[in-house]
């Protein structure tokens, strides 16, 4: 099984191939366009994180001791970043998510999107991912 750390390493590796910001952004836009990453029934008011700029929806389920995240956004670049976050955190054990770090975002040059000033919902999304992990971990205990 791929651990959170190995997936993060993979992503850092992939991003290091890009020569400039344009390639990085084109990749994220592609990710954002291609993924249907949440079922329509979960795009509800309860699951919404309203940023000042873009909206983010997050849904989490526990299956066989692992959390499955699905999410979406109304902005493509935000959605691209969501796709990366889901690749890292979905299908993982709650305890591993709780103990993981998000430093890899800095390393792939997308730090500015996780700045609180962007108010795009991503900071809250990561907080939400961690909260789900804590909640499901409590269930497992």
């Amino acid at each position: 099984m791929n651990t959170i750390e190995t997936i993060q390493e993979e992503i850092i590796q992939e991003f290091s191939m890009f020569e400039d910001w344009m390639q990085r952004y084109e990749y994220m836009i592609d990710l954002g366009k291609s993924l249907p990453i949440i079922a329509q029934e979960y795009k509800t008011e309860v699951n919404i994180i309203k940023g000042c700029q873009s909206k983010v929806w997050v849904h989490a389920e526990l299956k066989e001791n692992q959390i499955y995240f699905t999410a979406d956004s109304d902005a493509i670049i935000t959605k691209g970043i969501i796709a990366i976050l889901i690749r890292v955190f979905s299908n993982q054990h709650p305890k591993d998510i709780m103990e993981s770090s998000t430093d890899f975002i800095d390393k792939i040059g997308l730090k500015e999107h996780l700045s609180p000033t962007r108010a795009n919902g991503l900071v809250s999304m990561i907080k939400q991912i961690k909260m789900y992990a804590v909640a499901f971990q409590t269930q497992l205990n």
């Binding site: 084109e26 836009i29 873009s54 493509i76």
Partner: protein, 404 residues
Amino acid sequence: MFDVKYIRKDFPILSREINGNPLVYFDNAATSQTPQQVIDVIVDYYSRYNANIHRGVHRLSQEATEAYENARATIQKHFNIAYPYEVIFTSGTTESINLIASGYSPSLKKGDELIISAMEHHSNIVPWQMLCEKTGAVLKVIPMTEQGTLEMNIYEDLLSERTKLVFVNHVSNALGTVNPIQEIIDKAHGFGAKVLLDGAQASPHIKADLQALDVDYYVTSAHKLCGPTGVGMLYGKSVLLNELPPYQGGGEMIASVTFEKTTYADLPHKFEAGTPNIAGGIAFGAALDYMNAIGFEKIAAYEAELLAYATNKLTKIEDLKIYGEAPQKTAVISFNVGRIHPYDIGSILDQMGIAVRTGHHCAQPIMDFYKIPGTIRASFSFYNTFEEIDLFEIGLRKAVKMLQ
């Protein structure tokens, strides 16, 4: 002579590079940049005569007091205000509005009415909503047209003997619409209502003559006018300000204090509790001096050219829709391209060193009116150039191509 190349030399920040690209700063409606002349005034204050004002007998305090009061006089003169004590220094537009809202709290009764416009900034909506909740007064809204102008005939219908206050921005921050303020003021006065004019967006472009307008209250922030953040002004007619209770208690605002009773100081000190932003106030005056030396008519004429040039360029981009097409507007273009989210375009422009504002611009009711999540807003200032607009157009086309 208006020479933008010469003017740009005054603004050190404009020579910055972002990602190897020259900075193109088109977020002037959020905050304007600061010329060296104003920066120097701040440095000079802290280097030579930093002291608390209005109470020291020593030299530094006298110099600081004099400079601060001179700045007040500069503001008075700039806005053609009758008396210097009708200029209250505040931390900015938001505090100025809250000061008035709080001042009206004891006198408003259930059933009294307040009127605001549909194109207000949140800072000119929320304080009044809070005031209504507290007093039972009712908030009425002047609706707007698709074009982004106020429905003045409905405004007339809303006015009545119950109307106590009318709040409207001189210029809308999200759309750039210049509102017909003289008409708004005159009609309100016909019913004995008072008018507060939010000048935050207009003051960098239009020099308002407050006595000629006969407006009751006027507010703005220094940072919109090449000054520092954290300082602004409230103008109020002295007959009205004298009636209002103080906003905050503290030092500076008192005449005498005993544990039984405190008597308040006269204007403007009654509303200036505590040690103010002294360097900020002095720099506010210097910023007005700087802009007046260039001349507001020249500034407005040049900005109108920038607006026309940019509007012409942008309307040629396929699927680009401009929000706010009032016949009278300041150099602001709010727009979207097709169904592309403003955040996406803003993020890509940022990579190219182009600073625009994206989102709801703290004016959610306007976004709800157009049923959009937000817009991209490019706002120009007198130090911007036609070449920068060219760079912006190229960048925008590139962003759209990436995102489509």
